[in-house]
Amino acid sequence: MVRIVFESQELEIPAGSNLLRELVAAGIDIPSGCRSGVCQNCLVRVGAGEIPPGAQCGLGRELVRTQHMLACQCYPLSALFLQQAEHALTRFRSRLLEKFRLNDSILCVRLSKPAGFPGRAGQYVTLWRDLHQGRSYSLTNSQQNDWLEFHVRVYAGGTVSAWLADELSPGDPLMLQGPAGNCGYHDMIDKPLLLIGAGVGIGTMYGVLRDALAARHALPITIFHSVRRREDLYLEKPLLQLANAQVAYRHFIGTGLSAPTALEDELAQTASRFAGCHIQLCGSPQLVLRLRRQLYLAGASANEILADPFEFPMAASIPPG
């Protein structure tokens, strides 16, 4: 057993067990969202003890310097003394403005923008249903609108997605937390861009594309959309309208989960053409991680590939409730 002290509460947990799960099971109130190391809601500060490997992955320098780590990515092997995070992401009050379907599985959600909210398309924001149930979604627009827009894949029984689709009505309040994440258009005017959206990830990439054009990005931009079925395509019309000598848009209708998708087949031939590009990838985790590897092996620099795998908590890894 390993001794964990959180503020003034003390518990013993099995060595190598998941810290977030144990803290929550012990009744300690830690916000959490994706439980996959992406949303950073479960940030805690380590007062003393050895930070296990991987628990700081993806954190910015400042957070690492100040001994922060992600509880959901922490599997302690020795005693830890923990404190509330000092740099917790700010929470904002917002309201649902409107919602409508983009296709049979994707919901467009527009929320009021809190004063001073700094987000840009590509960053993620956690939408809180209540104090304990939140999920992170990527922003699909920046400062050009006075609302915040998200494209949400609705899962039957989804804690937040089904709530957004079925229960939340225009005018209803909710809490936002964020923004966070490195994706989005910033400081990349000197390189051609390759933007890839898998499934609902195209919403985010469309937002990044609009930001790039608004910033007068003059080098070529390629935007690819990968979907499993033709019915999953959306934003095809506006993307085709933006396509010109500078902007190339293509969609790929792929196959199942394990077989290479049509997009991977295409990149097997052409990936080296994108070696000098700045690349952003957004969407389902398996495909995003495979594409990142494929593009890296074809010569793209690891630092120039920003990947935002849309993780969602696996039922098996969370205790019910």
């Binding site: 296990p52 490997p53 992955c57 690492v64 990142r292 590897r293 890296y296 092996l297 010569g299 690891a302």
Partner: protein
């Protein structure tokens, strides 16, 4: 005498080195099985932090010690042959970047000194 880290060109140079080196490693059929299940970005980040540390750069390595980090690979049959292959890729990467032979020899010596820990002897 400046550190090897500075001689190689600091942070940007280590980025480039890790890019080239890690690409060689996961392209290598002999080594690929050891890396297949590992998140690439995380692995690259650790390689960079580790190389920065051993080369005498700003120390931000937060990984486990080498021995416990590689212990699980024993079960997958890691041997001298694999260690040699990684060494070759590291040296080739440094050559590709045009690093001078004396500095390459120094880096190789440092890397060689980790053999016992990596192979858990």
């Amino acid at each position: 005498m400046s550190s090897l880290y500075e001689q190689l060109g600091g942070d940007a140079a280590i980025d480039q080195l890790v890019d080239i080196f890690y690409r060689k490693v996961i392209r290598d059929n002999l080594l690929y099985p050891f890396f297949d299940e590992v998140d690439m970005a995380r692995q690259i980040q650790k390689q960079k932090a580790f190389l920065t540390m051993v080369l005498g750069g700003p120390n931000g390595y937060t990984g486990r010690d080498l021995r416990s980090a590689h212990a699980p690979l024993l079960r997958h049959g890691i041997t001298d042959q694999h260690f040699d292959a990684v060494m070759t890729h590291l040296v080739d990467s440094l050559r590709e970047l045009g690093v001078d032979p004396a500095a390459i020899a120094a880096v190789a010596e440092l890397a060689e000194s980790t053999r016992r820990d990596v192979l858990c002897r």
